[in-house]
């Protein structure tokens, strides 16, 4: 066992750090650091900068812009991005549909979609979840019926994140309702969001923001060539896609930033003449949280260091579960440091409450989602119990 990074990896880390902190526009990184929402243009701009330097889709096949990096390099790349407040390449493009098309799409689809997916010329959104098919995705009911050269899609999707910005949607649809197992008979279709019959309706969230949507399909005609891979194999692609990047979902770098901001703000909040940063209960709480995060980071490193042979490391299932809990704990910490200031969430120019305290509660409330999406933590526990402990 060796603790230090090799000199090559040290150099790689420095290279990433330098790039992210000097080449990505400061205004975008400031927006992330201040926990404010990026505009669509800012997302696109940031991803272009990364893509032009070959850093947007390093995990793709080399032929389509990938880098053939080791899992450790990918880990460092992602962590440094988070530490530098750089928005990660849009997950729907970079981690989800891109790898699926690269692995299962035909040559024409690869040429048509992959370059624009990497550069965010096409903004993708995901059409998986339905009102009655969240974690139990296989129960989805949206149908696609073949009619000549088209598929005709009817149904409803929900929790479609940033769908209001999207150009295209990748959608799971039921193409064989008679299949014996409900996981069979599902296919993956892609089509533009402005196709006639597609209606998007925003869902307002408890943080006051708009990031998810319902999407309705009424006799939406999708050309047959927009079927990805084989008919009725959509479930396999969805599993491939959801199994991707479980490592990245730990978001250690992002949580580190939250804790480090919490420390800064605790020095600014003065209670009875003493900064909150001297309160022993608070410092003990931060110490515990930091140690849990250290344990998570080390587990992520164990996973990336030991997964070179391609097999998923058993401990990888811990990453989503604990990673989401620690992200939530860090946002909770910030709310508690803000204390009574935190209720001024929607104060505007006339308020003396600092910006960080205003966004603390909306972000804390928003972060309840991280233990739900990507397979809820209960699903993760089921996976650990079943596949690791054999229960």
């Amino acid at each position: 066992m060796r603790l230090q990074l090799s000199p090559e990896m040290e150099a790689f880390r420095d290279e990433m750090r330098t790039f992210f902190t000097t080449q990505v526009p400061q205004e975008i990184r400031d927006t992330i650091a201040a926990h404010r929402h990026l505009t669509r243009d800012q997302y696109v701009q940031a991803q272009r900068v990364l893509n032009d330097a070959g850093l947007a889709v390093p995990h793709w096949p080399v032929e389509w812009g990938g880098k053939d990096w080791t899992p450790l390099q990918r880990h460092i790349w992602r962590e440094e991005m988070q530490l530098a407040n750089v928005p990660e390449p849009l997950a729907f493009n970079a981690s989800m549909i891109g790898p699926v098309i690269a692995s299962f799409g035909n040559q024409e689809q690869k040429e048509r979609f992959l370059p624009k997916t990497a550069s965010l010329e096409i903004w993708w959104c995901q059409g998986f979840s339905e009102p009655d098919a969240g974690s139990d995705l296989a129960s989805l009911r949206t149908t696609a019926v073949r009619d000549g050269d088209d598929w005709v899609v009817n149904g409803q999707k929900t929790w479609t994140t940033l769908g209001q910005y999207a150009d295209w949607i990748f959608c799971l649809v039921r193409t064989d309702p008679t299949a014996e197992k409900k996981q069979r008979g599902i296919s993956m279709l892609v089509f533009p969001m402005d196709t006639p019959g597609v209606t998007l309706r925003p869902i307002q969230l408890i943080d006051g923001g708009h990031e998810v949507n319902e999407v309705f399909f009424e006799d939406v005609r999708v050309p047959a060539e927009n079927l990805i891979g084989e008919e009725n194999r959509g479930w396999d692609y969805a599993k491939f896609l959801l199994g991707n990047e479980r490592v990245g979902i730990a978001r250690v770098g992002a949580t580190k930033k939250l804790i480090s901001q919490a420390k800064t703000h605790a020095r600014e909040v003065v209670v009875d003449g003493r900064p909150l940063s001297e309160d022993p209960r608070l410092t003990a709480r931060i110490a515990e949280l930091e140690n849990e995060l250290l344990a998570l980071e080390l587990t992520a490193l164990r996973v990336v260091a030991n997964s070179a042979d391609g097999k998923p490391h058993p401990a990888s299932s811990v990453l989503k579960l604990r990673g989401s809990e620690l992200q939530q704990a860090a946002t909770e910490l910030l709310v508690d440091i803000a204390g009574p200031l935190s209720v001024a969430s929607f104060a505007d120019g006339g308020s003396q409450v600092p910006q960080w305290a205003r966004v603390a509660t909306p972000e804390y409330l928003n972060y309840r989602k991280v233990s739900i999406y990507g397979g809820s933590n209960e699903v993760q526990r089921t996976i650990i119990a079943g596949t690791i402990l054999g229960l």
């Binding site: 603790l3 580190k256 930033k257 003990a284 250290l294 811990v318 089921t382 402990l389």
Partner: protein, 383 residues
């Protein structure tokens, strides 16, 4: 950076696992051994010596194997896996570690050689009834009488204090805390041994003008040496706890698969399988931290802080896994005949011997505001 053992470390693990697995192939064997003094099996101790385990971290010229903290952790994890009662961490890492760090060449050869060969059991007499995980001594004083040092006061609890052939004793001198070697048959030495809850042995050690040999040169304060030895022992205990937790979880999972209630096996109840899954999460996070701390010790980084971090993680995990292992077993978990309760008992002892989770959290809390983020691969941990 990698977390994999090399082939020599794997060989060591297999050899120790084989030896201890045979010695303690079921919990009955361990119960027989711990029922009679000295609370461990002298034959197994001798076999560990033959394998080189008892001299593992000491320099070759002192009679040791010249291995490092990672090899120590490999052994400690296997000790924990079967709850071997042999005092590897106590005698080799803690007491032997201090002799190795502080002793003169002659003392190292005289004490560590016999320890490594299995001819002598060493114990550290440092804990005092009125102290709590201190790095210094308070209740035993050392005075010079002609050319001879004499110690007076009480040390307790002293793990394996009654069985030890040689005691390493901390005592107060004009220069601060010094360390001494006391022979087991020294005059004015009274040792009253007793059983500990985890099947081990500890003792009240009373010194009354007991002649002692100053360890090392001079009477400069040795608190920092004690702290460093404690840190290395905390890391070894973390590995031992990981081994114990691993078995406790495996035993529990096996039980859930076989034990029937209400006509079905327990693993049909989601409430139980989710709790087992959470035990796995605790175990793996603790394992990562314990492995890391052994690597920090190996590379000469900030071993004291790394040990505190490992202790915090393994303390919280040990309590979680230990308590849940009993709860998921139900009543049989609290019986002496069944093994799982003994794992919880040992995890509890480890937690309290050198500092528990709250102690570790307090230590970290004191400096939490002095750095922005923890970087486990950067300074000060990489040395």
């Amino acid at each position: 950076m990698d977390f994999t053992y090399d082939s020599e470390q794997n060989d060591l693990r297999e050899a120790v696992a084989g030896l201890l697995g045979r010695a303690y192939s079921d919990s009955e064997q361990r119960r027989r051994v711990t029922a009679t003094d000295p609370g461990f099996d002298e034959k197994t101790w001798a076999r560990l010596a033959e394998m080189g385990v008892l001299g593992l971290p000491f320099a070759e010229e002192d009679g040791g194997m010249g291995a490092g903290p990672i090899e120590v952790a490999v052994v400690a994890e296997e000790v924990g896996r079967v709850l071997a009662p042999e005092p590897f961490v106590e005698a080799v890492v803690l007491a032997g570690g201090l002799v190795s760090a502080v002793g003169t060449a002659a003392q190292r050869a005289a004490v560590l050689g016999p320890l490594a060969e299995g001819g002598s059991v060493l114990a550290l007499a440092h804990a005092e009834p009125a102290a709590r995980w201190s790095t210094s001594a308070a209740g035993v004083t050392a005075t010079q009488d002609g050319g001879t040092w004499r110690l007076s006061g009480v040390k307790e609890p002293v793990p394996n204090g009654a069985r030890a052939d040689v005691l390493v004793v901390s005592a107060v001198t004009d220069g601060g805390t010094a360390l001494f070697l006391v022979q087991g048959d020294a005059e004015g030495l009274t040792r009253t041994g007793y059983r500990t809850h985890d099947g081990g042995r500890a003792a009240n050690v009373t010194l009354d003008g007991t002649p002692a040999e100053l360890l090392g040169e001079g009477t400069a304060d040795r608190s920092a040496d004690v702290e460093r030895a404690q840190a290395l022992a905390r890391i070894a205990y973390s590995a031992e706890a990981v081994g114990a937790m691993d078995t406790a979880l495996k035993t529990t999972a096996e039980y859930l698969k076989t034990r029937k209630q209400f006509g079905v096996t327990l693993n049909r109840f989601q409430a139980l399988t989710f709790r087992a899954a959470d035990m796995y999460v605790s175990l793996e996070l603790a394992r990562s931290t314990a492995l890391w701390a052994s690597m920090v010790a190996d590379t000469g980084g900030d071993v004291v802080t790394a040990a505190v971090r490992a202790r915090l993680q393994t303390s919280r995990a040990g309590r979680h896994v230990g308590k849940e292992a009993i709860q998921l077993h139900g009543g049989i978990g609290v019986t002496a005949e069944y093994s799982v309760g003994h794992y919880t008992s040992r995890l509890t002892a480890i937690d309290h011997l050198l500092g528990d989770g709250d102690w570790a959290a307090d230590r970290l809390a004191a400096t939490v505001d002095s750095y922005p983020t923890v970087d486990p691969l950067g300074a000060p941990y990489t040395g």
